[in-house]
């Protein structure tokens, strides 16, 4: 195991991550009765949330750290495009097959490379 992944500070990092995450959940409960869900601020917050999760997703696919980084970028994007194509053909029913096929394609690449 890598040297810097041991020791107390890794656990403090985990603790602060847990507190930070729960804090957001608690703030949500606190505001839930006060902000109308159809209000303008909610529309804005919802858009901000989706933009943030989109940015994280692109980062995990285009700029990954570790094992996924050893797969060429165009392979990663091609597999994503194919899976997304399956998903978009019938969004209500195709999540599981699209996820399965995308994962299997990545495994196949690992086998033949």
């Amino acid at each position: 195991m890598a040297e810097h992944l041991q020791g107390w500070w890794v656990w403090i990092a985990l603790a602060s991550a847990c507190i930070g995450t729960y804090l957001c959940r608690a703030i949500g409960v606190m505001l839930a009765g006060k902000i109308n869900q159809d209000s303008e601020i909610f529309r804005w917050l919802s858009a901000v949330t989706y933009a943030m999760v989109a940015a994280l997703t692109v980062r995990l696919i285009v700029l990954p750290i570790g094992l996924l980084d050893t797969v060429p970028l165009w392979i990663r994007i091609l597999i994503c495009a194919l899976s997304l194509g399956i998903m978009l053909s019938k969004p209500q029913q195709r999540l599981v097959p699209a996820l399965l096929i995308g994962t299997l394609l990545m495994v196949s690449y690992g086998v033949i490379r």
């Binding site: 858009a47 901000v48 943030m52 989109a54 692109v58 797969v71 690449y109």
Partner: protein, 261 residues
């Protein structure tokens, strides 16, 4: 009702639907609904996360505890990435918290739909069960569930998702150490792919625009400053999407509806 309201955001009001006979019935139905595709997908995500933990060199206890106590896959992934990079504690805490700000909006949109009698302190415990999957299913189903049964349904749904996250993480961790690299490659690809695929289900145009802008602007802000890029992208792209919707889409929609309310 204003013509531009998103159907997704409108709870069933004054509709007498007797979908469930009791709270127990609603709870069981939530458990049942979760045990299909949502739990399968979340389980796969947790397996993928466990595999990421193993391949990145983290301890099993660290990887598992983050699933149990954070129960927020994107935040867990950010935590791992930043610990690997050796980022400062403050930067890690801030970045993970910012990634989790989506829980504020999720809670604000979902929890007011609970019955008035359920709006109490116990919600501070229930909120830990909230995750993207349970949120998406609840937002869709609540329209067809009477308010007094919504919390029970949500509890069943969320509880099952939370309970399976720990065995999923442990399984992924152990698998990654035992199976060939090509299998591990598939496992760690599950989460990014899952996040991407869920975007296809997003309905209102304002959120679709936000996703598109977030995808385009994300890498740009990432190059500028890693630690704050998620927040900056969220605020800039989200605000732009909101503005586009308000300035152009809503006007056009109300014009085609003859401006009626």
């Amino acid at each position: 009702m204003p013509a531009d309201r998103d159907p997704v955001l409108v709870p069933a009001q004054g509709t007498e639907l007797n979908r469930f006979t009791s709270r127990k019935d609603a709870f069981r139905s939530g458990l049942k609904d979760a045990s299909g595709a949502p739990a399968m997908v979340l389980f796969a995500g947790m397996v993928g996360f466990g595999a990421m933990g193993k391949t990145s060199g983290f301890e099993l206890s660290f990887t598992t505890l983050s699933s149990l106590l954070m129960f927020a896959l994107p935040g867990q992934v950010v935590l791992m990435e930043m610990v690997l990079e050796g980022a400062s504690l403050l930067a890690i805490a801030l970045a993970v918290t910012l990634t989790s700000t989506r829980f504020i909006t999720m809670t604000v949109s979902l929890f007011p739909q609970f019955d008035r009698r359920d709006q109490n302190k116990a919600l501070y415990a229930s909120v830990h069960l909230l995750a993207m999957t349970a949120w998406a299913v609840s937002m869709r189903e609540f329209q067809r569930i009477e308010p007094q049964h919504r919390l029970s349904y949500f509890a069943g749904l969320g509880l099952l998702c939370w309970m399976i996250s720990v065995p999923g993480t442990i399984l992924g961790y152990l698998l990654a150490g035992a199976v060939p690299v090509f299998i591990t490659l598939g496992l760690i690809f599950i989460n990014p792919l899952f996040f991407l695929l869920t975007f296809a289900e997003v309905k209102p145009w304002i959120n679709r625009i936000a996703i598109a802008l977030g995808c385009v602007m994300g890498p740009f802000f990432y190059m500028l400053d890693r630690d704050t890029s998620l927040l900056t992208t969220g605020i800039v792209a989200g605000t732009l999407a909101y503005w586009i919707d308000r300035q152009y889409l809503r006007k056009r929609r109300s014009a085609s509806d003859g401006g009626m309310l």
